[in-house]
Amino acid sequence: MFVNKPSKKRTSGFPSPAEDFAGASLDLNQRLVPRPASTFLMRVSSVQYKHLGINKEDILIIDRSLLPRPGKTIVTIVDGAMRLLLLGSHHRLNLQTDFWGVVTYVIRKL
């Protein structure tokens, strides 16, 4: 999950005018995994979540430090198995037993 910096070429001639701006390239971790300690990845192996915009083989980024709020897609525990749920205000959720984490991003190869 890194966007690697191209290796810096030291020019032998005129110094690059961009040198002062070095270190500004983008790091996907910074954007997608702001809290690494509580962030986990899971793979979807079912087609039943199309209505959530989630396909089979998608990789989900899940942050356990976030609380479940209506409108969030969450990983929930149903009969001991992990499932996805678009949380509505009518859902009754036991934080201790039913809730695993909040899905924050979906990674899909096109």
Binding site: R35, P36, A37, S38, F40, L41, M42, R43, V44, S45, S46, Y49, I59, L60, R64, S65, V75, I77, D79, G80, A81, M82, R83, L84, T97, W100
Partner: protein
């Protein structure tokens, strides 16, 4: 005055297994040692069935079967990753300098200061840490609080048995009142359960009528000093609520040695088989070195059979973490100690005198044994090759690439190196460290 805490993950390995397998939450779970031989962790449900810590599996097989206890082979890739996460969550709350990672599942914390925080406030902070770790990583923890590390450890044992999982021996701004309360706890705390009182000390102490922590605290100082030396004096002071231990800094904890060894299922007498086994152990220990950015300056090989134990070590002219260099040295040592007429039951390799690879100075002097010394650029190249192998193995999967010497020449299958790894018949996937093993949502 500083207030310390000891945070301990409850039944850590068993709890790790439950994070990605919630169906195990209400089931008894045990985790097995290398080769699936002994019980090394038990969930509370498994403890309640009477399964003992360290018990060989065959001794409790009937209980495991009868109660359909879930067995898992130790999955240290998973446990190591979740341990790091637990420590990071605590460090985010308290700050890195206030956390001493003591073991894979324990940390000493500097929770606060009695001048600024009341007992109630620190209790509340501990409850918050406990909640955050369980919420963010999925691991339940217990926290003991006190003015000394030894008492924090005592408090932790008590926290494990109470409902909240938090227990404090820092109970008052009034030390006299607090010490009375501590004494009432120490009076029923077995001396052998005190942190730093090993089996041998416990035997000496109980033989002399010292059975509880309170007995030890009140024992004659001169006698304790004579029997347990400075260590005993420190224990007495810490039990008396007078701190003499600080948090250890990371430099203090640089690992002293790294090793890899294994007992063979069948006795081994062939040299080529031992070569393959040692190459595997060395490659695995060298990968451990590199993952901690360490290099070794000493390598030891040992072989043991029923009749004898042989060992030999060598100093490295140039500290190294390169698998190919270290495998070569391990083979040299093996050839010197190997004797054809013995049937060996165990072999291993130990790296000691470890140094940080960053601080490693390449030597420009020639070794007296010039022939054995690779050129400097070769050394650097070997280091890079080893790092590349690690990267490939971590990106694509374990054993994508392995050292030729680790493969059995007679067994041409790709998995012949597997033979020298511990047997793990009930291992959960490396959920958090291998792209191919991510948890599944169905």
């Amino acid at each position: 005055m500083k207030i310390f805490a000891l945070l301990d993950c409850n039944n850590f390995y068993a709890s790790c297994e439950r994070v990605f397998e919630p169906r195990l939450l209400s089931r008894p779970v045990v985790v097995l040692s290398n080769n699936d031989g002994c019980i090394i962790a038990r969930s509370n449900e498994a403890k309640a069935l009477g399964i003992k810590m360290g018990e060989p599996v065959f001794m409790c097989q009937h209980i495991l079967d009868k109660h359909q206890v879930v067995k898992r082979s130790a999955n240290f890739a998973l446990y190591g990753d979740l341990s790091d996460r637990v420590m990071n969550v605590i460090s985010e709350i308290l700050g890195i300098p206030a956390v001493e990672v003591y073991s894979i599942d324990e940390a000493f914390l500097e929770l606060g200061d009695s001048r600024f925080s009341s007992p109630a406030e620190l209790n509340y902070l501990a409850r918050d840490i406990q909640f955050q770790v369980e919420r963010q990583v999925g691991i339940p923890v217990s926290i003991g609080i006190a003015r000394t590390k030894v008492l924090a450890k005592v408090a932790n044992k008590i926290a494990k048995t109470n409902r909240l999982g938090v227990f404090s021996l820092y109970s008052s701004q009034d030390l006299i009142e607090e010490n009375l309360r501590i004494d009432s706890v120490l009076a029923s705390f077995p001396v052998g359960d005190i942190w730093g009182v090993g089996y041998r000390y416990a035997k000496t102490l109980t033989a002399n009528g010292i059975h509880t922590a309170l007995d030890l605290k009140r024992a004659n100082h001169a006698w304790i000093r004579e029997k347990l030396k400075i260590h005993g004096a420190r224990l007495q002071s810490e039990l008396a609520n007078m701190p003499c231990l600080e948090l250890a800094s990371p430099e203090d904890k640089l690992r002293k040695s790294i090793s890899c060894s294994r007992s063979f299922g069948d006795r081994v007498s062939e040299l080529s088989t031992l070569e393959t086994a040692l190459a595997n152990f060395t490659a695995s220990a060298a990968a451990k070195l590199r993952s901690q950015k360490l290099s070794t300056r000493e390598l030891r090989v040992f072989l043991s059979s029923m009749e004898r134990y042989d060992t030999l070590s060598t100093r490295l002219f140039q500290a190294s973490s390169s698998s190919s260099v270290l495998i070569g040295l391990a083979h040299d040592l093996l050839h010197k100690i190997y004797q054809a007429n013995y049937r060996y039951k165990k072999a291993g390799v130990i790296f000691s005198d470890l140094v940080l690879s960053d601080s490693l100075q390449l030597s420009f002097l020639k070794s007296p044994d010039t022939a054995a010394l690779p050129e400097i650029h070769t050394l650097k190249k070997q280091q890079t090759i080893s790092e590349l192998v690690d990267q490939l193995n971590s990106k694509i999967g374990v054993n994508t690439i392995s050292w030729a010497a680790t493969l059995d020449t007679k067994d041409q299958s790709a998995n012949s190196a597997e033979r020298w790894r511990a047997s793990k018949n009930h291992c959960s996937p490396a959920y958090t460290t291998d792209w191919r093993s991510l948890p599944n949502i169905s």
